[in-house]
């Protein structure tokens, strides 16, 4: 990725004028290659060279935004093939395909259901991004009317038609909602390019399973100045899709191959019989490189699972979510309310806090600093032991706020009870359940 110093050097004036602050053009080129200096430091670089260098330093996969406000989806700008190499940056937007041939009322109900859907996981609110409206009616005015409904509901919109007239009606109706046009083909690309440019809308390119023709098409569009592209490799099966998106991602990242350096759109519903089957193929999209996922079956259980998977895959491996250590109050505890202790791994905190809340029994939740690790992991790594828990008890306000001297430890670390008794003389150590889901029952007999 990026040009080498020598290649950059060939594009520079090679006068060694030193005005950039470096002794030679070669030295400057090396610094540029290492991204330690801006090209603008050289007053004499030609316009051609500038254009070439800009193209080479642009991110390998174009960042494309669809939608506005809190439904905005940004896809692209990825730098790795595997999340463990660094992280995946821009999680895919999840859309539902709706036909414009439903009645206005039925359509409104569908839109509302999608817009209303929200779940919370590990303290984050998750929802679908929007709808992909398909021009099944064949009528531009109808299409425009349905698009307007979706845009008014605040959803991100994908306009699905191969007819320029319909697309234009949709673009007019979705002004301000930053819709995606789906899409350009060999037959209509010039007209679609015109619309994309006129309305400054991103444009999806429909492949037919062959990467060569897809690349040729994106190059033609790029030649017309349409650069905010989204690509559909055209595969709809599991193996074919996986191989196509893997090749495209590799080409962009490892070979800086521009014509396929765009975010991908996937349609897992095309071959699925029901919401469950579709959710599984959609999960391949989440794990493997999709930027926009369009589903055909709206189902809360399937969407919840998929949003959870997306959250998991797109978590930065180097920053596993943690909560701050401290003494948390769940549901207005009194001094005699139970005291539980656990680790500051986000999922642990939310699981335990959630169960305590659900029990209806107010309690104190002491979160020890386990460096963001879960109970078992932290215990195995020596980051959640008697000493640490005792320290938390003694330094986080427990002694002032809690009138009793009983502490409930997670069942998975029952083996530290003895040590903890020694670290906290006068305290009674109670071993709680191993699974958070059993906390309510445990607290009821406290």
């Amino acid at each position: 990725m990026g040009l080498s110093g020598l290649v950059i050097y060939k594009l520079l004036p090679k006068t060694n004028c030193k005005e950039c602050g470096f002794p030679t053009c070669l030295a400057f080129a090396m610094k540029l290659a290492a991204r330690q200096v801006e090209l603008s430091a050289c007053p004499y670089v030609s316009d051609e060279a500038k254009a070439q260098l800009d193209a080479a330093s642009a991110p390998p996969i174009r960042l494309v935004a669809v939608g506005a406000g809190d439904r905005k989806v940004e896809a692209g700008n990825e730098t790795v093939l595997f999340r463990h190499e660094k992280t995946f940056y821009h999680q895919p937007g999840i859309f539902y395909r709706l036909g414009d041939d439903a009645s206005a009322e039925a359509f409104a109900a569908q839109v509302q259901t999608i817009a209303d859907y929200q779940i919370e996981r590990v303290g984050m609110a998750l929802s679908a991004s929007g709808v992909a409206i398909e021009n099944r009616s064949g009528d531009a005015a109808t299409f425009g009317a349905r698009v307007e409904q979706a845009a008014k509901a605040g959803l991100a919109v994908i306009l699905m038609s191969e007819s320029a007239a319909a697309i234009e009606a949709g673009l007019k109706a979705a002004q301000g909602a930053a819709p995606l046009i789906y899409g350009a083909t060999e037959e209509n690309w010039e007209a679609m390019a015109g619309l994309a440019a006129k309305y400054k809308a991103p444009l999806a390119v429909k492949g037919n399973g062959d990467l060569n023709s897809l690349a040729a098409l994106t190059e033609k569009l790029d030649g017309k100045g349409v650069q905010d592209l989204v690509i559909d490799p055209g595969t709809r099966d599991w193996a074919g899709s996986l191989q196509a998106v893997t090749q495209m991602r590799r080409l962009a990242i490892k070979k800086n191959y521009r014509p396929l350096g765009y975010p991908v759109i996937a349609f897992p519903g095309a071959n699925a019989n029901d919401a469950e089957e579709e959710a599984l193929l959609a999960s391949q999209g989440v794990a493997k490189y999709a930027g926009f996922i369009v589903l055909d079956h709206f189902d809360p259980a399937a969407l919840y699972a998929l949003l959870t998977l997306r959250q998991n895959i797109y978590t930065d491996p180097q920053k596993p979510i943690q909560v701050s250590p401290g003494l948390y109050e769940i549901g207005n505890p009194k001094p005699e309310s139970p005291l539980l202790v656990t680790t500051n791994f986000s999922l642990t905190y939310f699981s335990v806090a959630g169960e305590v809340e659900g029990s209806g029994i107010p309690a104190w939740l002491l979160i020890a600093d386990s460096e963001g690790m879960s109970v078992l992991t932290a215990w195995a790594a020596g980051k959640f032991d008697a000493e640490r828990i005792a320290k938390a008890v003694n330094t986080m306000g427990v002694l002032d706020k809690v009138s009793h001297r009983k502490i409930i430890i997670p069942g998975l670390v029952s083996s530290i009870s003895g040590d903890l008794e020694e670290e906290l003389p006068g305290w009674q150590i109670l071993v709680g359940p191993r699974e958070a889901i059993n906390i309510p029952a445990f607290l009821k007999q406290f």
């Binding site: 595997f82 463990h84 919401a275 999960s283 809360p300 399937a302 699972a305 999922l347």
Partner: protein, 324 residues
């Protein structure tokens, strides 16, 4: 003029070992057929750049005593067959399992504390009830694991069963039993590439061949650590394919056990309406975990729900299909 699309194939220098579970009468066992896993020389399902001679397989987990704390979704799906381990094994085979994973749960000190004799009886019953190769898990407590797995290894002599789990804190006795009776082992490491490698070396140092060791990287379910397992598996697979010979082992993931522990699959009370249909959510918790880990390179997926067997096998069929 269009720039031609460059080739996007990687060249891998390593491949995953082939491991065969089960032995037919001609081979000294009594299994109807054997199951071979591994052998791939490319990343999961990238048929265009290598060979994937053996598809991933599905193991169905059965217990040696009727579970009393399972999700209602799971219990209702199996019904009364869980009262008899032989009948349960037969049913699992009928559903299309490639392997049976038998957990000797009753041997756990807190769940029955049954002994070696009971383990032998159970293993014999299951071997008679099903023609599929077996994975045999202890109850997950070191002393009891050793006791019952030694007995199981002996009882299943000649059958090429996989004994689980060998962990760094407890592996010697199980490996010795595997050596004595020509069995295989499952080596479980705590989501860590180096610890996984180390455990394989320790086991191999005891003279158990590497083609008798399945790697279990420890499974986190969807929403409960999945991404940790997913990434450690991708790292293991990449290291294996680039020549690290000690970790070129097929991987096994215990999806059923982990997925059915989650709140999502266990309860429909006091959960948000947006969580949707209980049964569908519970099944998806298992099948979506399985799908993600297949994409990360799982060679054996251990499942619990009957419907998951078909769904995951269909997914595997789809991923192995090379016809567009």
């Amino acid at each position: 003029m269009a720039t031609p699309v460059p080739v996007a194939k990687e060249t891998w220098t390593g491949k995953i070992r082939e491991i065969t579970l089960g032995a037919t009468p001609a081979q000294g066992g009594t299994r109807g057929s054997t199951v071979t896993i591994g052998g791939e020389n490319t990343l999961p399902f990238l048929h265009f750049e290598g060979q994937i001679p053996h598809r991933p397989v599905v193991a169905v987990e059965i217990l040696d005593q009727a579970p009393d704390d399972w999700s209602p979704v799971l219990s209702e799906a199996w019904g009364d067959v869980v009262q008899d381990v032989g009948a349960w094994a037969k049913k699992a085979e009928e559903l299309g399992a490639d392997l049976i994973a038998l957990t000797l749960e009753s041997a756990h000190p807190e769940r029955g504390n049954t002994k070696a004799a009971q383990a032998r009886k159970t293993v014999r019953a299951v071997l008679q009830a099903t023609s599929l190769p077996l994975i045999i898990y202890g109850p997950g407590q070191a002393e009891k694991d050793n006791e019952v797995l030694v007995a199981a290894a002996e009882e299943a002599a000649g059958e090429r069963v996989a004994l689980g789990n060998c962990e760094d804190k407890n592996y010697r006795t199980i490996v010795a039993a595997a050596l004595a009776h020509n069995q295989l082992v499952v080596a479980r490491s705590p989501i860590d590439v180096n610890l996984g490698k180390q455990l394989n070396i320790l086991i191999n140092d005891m003279r158990l061949d590497l083609d008798r060791i399945l790697m279990d990287p420890t499974t986190g379910a969807l929403g409960y650590g999945l991404e940790y397992t997913y990434s450690v598996m991708e790292r293991l697979k990449l290291a294996a394919l680039t020549g690290d010979s000690v970790i070129q082992q097929p991987m096994i993931v215990t999806v059923g056990y982990e997925a059915w522990r989650s709140k999502e699959s266990r309860t429909s009370e006091g959960v948000p309406a947006a969580w949707g249909d209980f049964g569908r959510r519970a099944r998806l918790w298992e099948t979506m975990t399985a799908t993600a880990l297949l994409e990360a390179g799982a060679n054996v997926v251990v499942l619990r729900h009957p419907a998951s067997v078909e769904a995951v096998k269909q997914t595997i069929d789809n991923l192995m299909s090379t016809a567009s």
